[in-house]
């Protein structure tokens, strides 16, 4: 197993991913991103040293349970986190420009025009007391010299493009008068309105009917390919990630536990956490009424950093070493694809097999988790 070159605190500086070669042309580069929330109860390391690069026209998937830090990472990349009680570290290059130190005033020209966000629930994310057309016109006029009537015309074109019939009528309606799928299409039109280089989609289909999900995802992919946008797709749906992303990062407790080309990560998961997530997902190949495996325990609250691996208390392979030492993100054996894992005993390696065997024989993991 190859060891990755290391950066601050011995963590990775993403030198292995293939897109690094074209770093200058990447739509979005994130280096050593850290986010701490300072609360009266203590500091919370919500995003722990995350680095990635998003190529033009590529999609990066970020998966993980609720509370794993996915949305915080996205907001932090966009510099949308509140300033108070939050500390961030690391560098963000958006279209080659360093935006890491920028405050609200300077970020305004990037927001909406270079990086745009599609929120999870369009019903709460669109202003309920503003006509949907006006909400798009507002953004267009903020970033372009178009007149109001030109902006309205562009809004109608955008609404047509995202599949909304009779845009003149729809743009005069309020969010609550549209269906869920229609609202999400409006939000996508809004996000696309100023031709951003990067689109961050935070669970864009979670609030939607399953039958609408595929339509919205297909629309997003079509627009992304047509416009050569980079897209960050945050989801907890592995099926969605499998179908719509090029690269995948699996997050747990604010850290990346596994990353690499989506196909490879899902076909040969290396992290016990990724494996557990896959086992918990339903598969069409399984017979009906197959019982899904559940993951025992809860995600860590991340208050106060533990010495060992964050997943150890819930991991079937946890050994004594996992409790006292934190693993680094290292490349797997076929690491030339950029497939990395943060585990001492990865799935599919002799070491991982041995660790599981030891735990099964003694009936419990080093963290005290009972194995059946």
């Amino acid at each position: 197993m190859m060891s990755r070159p290391t950066g601050r605190e011995g963590e990775t500086v993403h030198p292995d991913a293939p897109q690094v070669a074209e770093k200058g042309q990447d739509a979005l580069v994130v280096d050593n991103m850290d986010v701490w929330f300072h609360t009266p109860a203590g500091s919370n390391h919500a995003v722990d040293d995350i680095s990635f690069a998003l190529g033009v026209g590529k999609t990066m998937g970020i998966v993980g349970e609720s509370g794993s830090g996915k949305s915080v990472l996205a907001k932090s990349v966009m510099r949308l986190l509140p300033a108070r009680g939050v500390a961030t570290g690391g560098q963000v290059l958006l279209c080659g420009n360093d935006i890491s130190g920028l405050g609200t005033r300077k970020m305004r020209k990037h927001w909406g025009s270079e990086v745009a966000m599609v929120f999870q629930d369009a019903l709460t994310a669109l202003n309920p007391v503003m006509r949907v057309g006006d909400q798009i016109v507002e953004q267009i006029r903020e970033h372009t010299p178009l007149s109001r009537s030109e902006a309205i015309a562009k809004t109608h074109r955008l609404l047509t493009e995202v599949g909304i019939p009779s845009p003149e009528l729809r743009s005069r309606q309020y969010p609550h008068q549209l269906s869920g799928g229609m609202r999400q299409r409006v939000m996508i039109a809004l996000a696309l309105s100023c031709d951003p280089a990067v689109l961050i989609a935070d669970e864009p289909t979670t609030a939607l009917d399953v039958s609408i999900q595929a339509q919205i995802m297909d629309l997003l992919r079509e627009e992304q390919l047509g416009r050569k946008m980079g897209m960050v797709l945050i989801t907890h749906d592995l099926g969605l990630a499998a179908n719509y992303t090029d690269e995948l990062m699996v997050m747990y407790g604010g850290q990346v536990v596994e990353r690499g080309p989506t196909k490879e990560v899902l076909a040969q998961p290396s992290s016990p956490y990724t494996e557990a997530l896959l086992r918990a997902s339903p598969r069409l190949a399984n017979p009906p009424h197959t019982r899904l495996e559940t993951l025992p325990g809860r995600p860590p609250a991340i208050l106060g950093e533990s010495a060992g691996c964050g997943f150890a208390p819930r991991c079937r392979r946890a050994q004594e070493r996992c409790l006292v030492e934190r693993p680094r993100l290292t490349l797997t054996e076929n690491g030339e694809s950029g497939h990395g894992v943060r585990c001492f005993y990865p799935v599919g390696t002799p070491g991982g097999h041995e660790a599981l065997k030891i735990n099964v024989e003694r009936g419990t993991t080093a963290a005290g988790l009972e194995l059946r």
């Binding site: 990037h110 966000m117 709460t124 309920p128 503003m130 309020y174």
Partner: protein
């Protein structure tokens, strides 16, 4: 829509009937009598009997109410027991004065409260917010009468900027009218502004947490525009209710201010008619106050529909 309005009108009619009927019953409990108030305590029993007959005061209460009500339906609110002046004429002179005070006060209060509330809420817990919060606590706690005397002492007596007391009708001299209105309006507006500010600040803080504010931010919209265009409208429902109630309250209740500043409005008429046991005038004022509440309620209901498109009939 028509049936909606008709239903409202019917309901308001019932409310007005109940308010005036109960009002007349309660007002008759006021000790003393109009005859004694007008004729003096040494009036002869014959004079008192004549007086009571003249104004129908010797009839039973419900009968008197019925007589008054019949008059109302004929467009006649009756005549003052104290001086024979028609009540409608008296209200016609007094109501515009009080309306001017009340509307100006609410307008000024909103002008102060809205920008301060938005600024406080934007940096809730910050130094500006804490200063504003202390000021509003003070303004709410100071009694109207103390504030009135304090403002008169400083701005009228010491600085001589505004007249101490008195009133010039707007129709006579608009500029003088506004000069006379400044201090009374300030006394009415400042506590109202403090209440409005608190209510609006709390709602804006909640609104600023919502996803659509985060989206507005992510669109690159400027902070003032986010506050005024996105946050204010969605945070204004409680303010609308409180503001409307305050306006109605002022229309019936600028008593202290009108007495201190010697302003000939509804409030001072209320005081003098109570002193004179002038039940007919009082009844007229009750009608005005109750109507003000009803009209303002109706306007608020309509305004909700305008402010929040999600409200359906």
């Amino acid at each position: 829509m028509l049936s909606f309005a008709a239903e409202r009108l019917l309901r308001y009619g019932v409310v007005l009937f109940l308010v005036t009927f109960c009002g007349s019953m309660l007002l008759s409990l006021v000790p003393g009598s109009a005859a004694l108030a007008v004729l003096g305590s040494d009036a002869s029993p014959e004079a008192i009997a004549d007086f009571n007959t003249k104004y129908g005061l010797n009839h039973a209460l419900p009968v008197r109410y019925w007589m008054w009500l019949r008059g109302v339906f004929e467009g006649n609110l009756g005549e003052s027991i104290n001086n024979g002046q028609p009540v409608s004429k008296l209200l016609g002179e007094r109501l515009p004065v009080t309306l001017e005070l009340a509307i100006l006060a609410i307008f000024v209060a909103l002008l102060i409260a809205v920008p301060l509330a938005l600024a406080s809420a934007y940096r809730a817990g910050g130094i500006f917010d804490r200063i504003v919060q202390s000021l509003t606590s003070g303004l709410i706690a100071i009694p109207e009468i103390a504030m009135a005397l304090f403002l008169v002492l400083i701005f009228a007596v010491k600085l001589n900027l505004f007249p101490v007391t008195g009133w010039v009708p707007f129709s006579e001299d608009p500029v003088q009218n506004l000069r006379f209105a400044v201090l009374p309006v300030a006394v009415l507006a400042l506590p109202a502004a403090a209440v409005f500010l608190r209510v609006l600040r709390a709602d804006v803080i909640t609104t600023l947490q919502s996803d659509y504010i985060a989206l507005a931010r992510a669109k690159g919209i400027s902070t003032p525009r986010i506050l005024f265009k996105h946050a204010l409208r969605a945070s204004s429902y409680s303010l609308l209710t409180i503001g409307g109630l305050r306006l109605a309250y002022l229309i019936g209740g600028t008593v202290v201010v009108e007495v201190i500043f010697a302003i000939p409005g509804v409030g001072s008429a209320l005081v003098s008619s109570i002193q004179g046991k002038d039940l007919i005038v009082l009844q007229g004022i009750v009608v005005v106050i109750a109507s003000a509440y009803l009209v303002i309620n109706f306007v608020i209901d309509m305004a909700y529909r305008f402010l929040d498109p999600r409200v359906e009939h």
